[in-house]
């Protein structure tokens, strides 16, 4: 368990399918400031690898990924 980061915004992408969670994450990250943390909740089984790949590509930092029941909870720090 990593130290809980302060969350600036939550994106509820539960029920969305690829590429929905990634698209909405790309939109949501622009709505927080650099250094702030976005929480994404998704049920798409591809959400974890897809958002990890998206973060690598866009240069944002994944702080934590946890499975919470059916949902994957991903914390992303905006880096630029």
């Amino acid at each position: 368990m990593t130290q809980e980061a302060k969350i600036s915004k939550t994106l509820d992408a539960r029920g969305m399918y690829c590429p929905g969670p990634v698209l909405e994450t790309a939109k949501a990250i622009k709505q927080i400031q650099v250094g702030e943390v976005l929480e994404v909740l998704a049920t798409d089984p591809a959400a974890k690898p897809d958002i990890e790949a998206w973060a690598r590509r866009t240069g944002h930092q994944i702080l934590d990924i946890q499975q919470q029941g059916e949902a994957t909870r991903i914390l992303i720090k905006r880096m630029k």
Partner: protein
């Protein structure tokens, strides 16, 4: 830090059936979200799918002959999943990233399609040389 290499996805959209257009929407929106420059070149049967009349048609979309048995099942599931149509994905891609939609000038002449017949999200009418220039140095797909 060295200079970052430009990430690019370019697609030649040759086919106009829904089974080929869906991946165009999915790939281009995922790429745009990931910071890729995206170039879509609609030509031949693909061009017919970006006319205003095609986008606003109430008729069920055409599907490749090879998959036609699966078509109605897939369309029904997509509706149940509230999955966006391919052109809605392209429009979302344009909202999140750098996406250009090009129509092939020669194909327009073949089919008698005019600039004003094309959907709003079409950026420009170009030829093959322009597409090749835009696509240079990136991933290019022919769908």
């Amino acid at each position: 830090m060295g200079e970052e290499k430009k990430k690019k996805l370019s697609i030649i959209v040759f086919s106009g059936t829904i089974d080929k257009l869906m991946p165009v929407g999915i790939l281009s929106s995922a790429a745009a979200a990931g910071g890729y420059e995206v170039n879509l070149f609609f030509t031949f049967w693909g061009l017919q799918s970006i006319t205003k009349s095609s986008i606003h048609s109430q008729k069920p979309p055409q599907i490749d002959k090879n998959y036609e048995q699966m078509g109605p099942i897939m369309m029904q599931r997509m509706q149940e999943m509230k999955y966006p149509m391919w052109h809605q994905l392209v429009q979302q891609a344009k909202e999140v990233g750098e996406v250009k939609v090009y129509a092939c000038s020669t194909t327009m002449e073949f089919f008698g399609v005019k600039r004003e017949d094309l959907a709003e999200f079409v950026d420009d009418v170009v030829g093959a040389a322009t597409f090749l220039d835009r696509a240079e140095g990136g991933i290019t797909l022919f769908i």
